[in-house]
Symmetry: C2
Amino acid sequence: SRPCCIEALLAEAAEPGTPARPCPCPLPSGDTALSRLVRRLLSARRSLDLCLFSFSCPQLARAVQLLHRRGVRVRVVTDAQYMGMHGSQIGRLRHAGIQVRHDQHSGYMHHKFAIVDRRMLITGSLNWTTQAIQSNRENVLVVEDAEYVKAFQDEFERIWEEYDPANYRFF
Amino acid sequence: SRPCCIEALLAEAAEPGTPARPCPCPLPSGDTALSRLVRRLLSARRSLDLCLFSFSCPQLARAVQLLHRRGVRVRVVTDAQYMGMHGSQIGRLRHAGIQVRHDQHSGYMHHKFAIVDRRMLITGSLNWTTQAIQSNRENVLVVEDAEYVKAFQDEFERIWEEYDPANYRFF
């Protein structure tokens, strides 16, 4: 989608009920692909499981940190080669106290999915980068069918255990 | 999936009814993620629409060429920056007479989906490269729900028209 402002969305999620002050920035704040994604993430009440090849979009990182502060159990799995790239938000999430695990293979951990409250699967071609959101042709599927959600949740749990730091072999 | 041999699958699709000679190569030829993907592609009878960021896997290119020779209408949309990369199969498909169109933007055409007979959607994180198939953690969803198939088919038709060479601006 085009560059857009999601400050009002984040402010409302941070302090529900308080009318959000309009953001003074010149970017449009209407309905965009990014705002729809953020709304779905912010609907999390209990858990958010993220399995993301690359995560460098600061706005999405703020939404994730906000959920963490709100008490939602956030777990992140990411790719070892990409998590240290310039602009990666992974360090910021770790500093905020969010649990992050990564692969230790030469291949990529190339998934790009999120599961909200073990109920809603958000998956597709989209890496969580500003370039992908603003410039690429991408698809994002939002699915609540239990059959699909379970397949991805099972894969998440498998990877989460496999990438447990206790299993690291490079120490 | 692990490296595997799909010669028997391709031979059977090329000459249905003829018992395939066992391939003398040492690779396993059992049920793998790649063989399951190839089987679904080879089930095409009328059309195959491919919208792929990168396509360098020679085995998948052979399956696509086989369908083209069998009279299936194959259309390919791909990314301009990646189609000329070392190992890309796009030139080979064009030489075989398959219609290929590409974007002309700085952003990526980052989709990775296929639609078989306007009926079955195959989508996910998987680029059609040997590295992705053999070494990465990837997901591929196979969906026949009309609602999902239609959304992707509509996007395909939109992109197909938008990337019509008659619209190129760089001549």
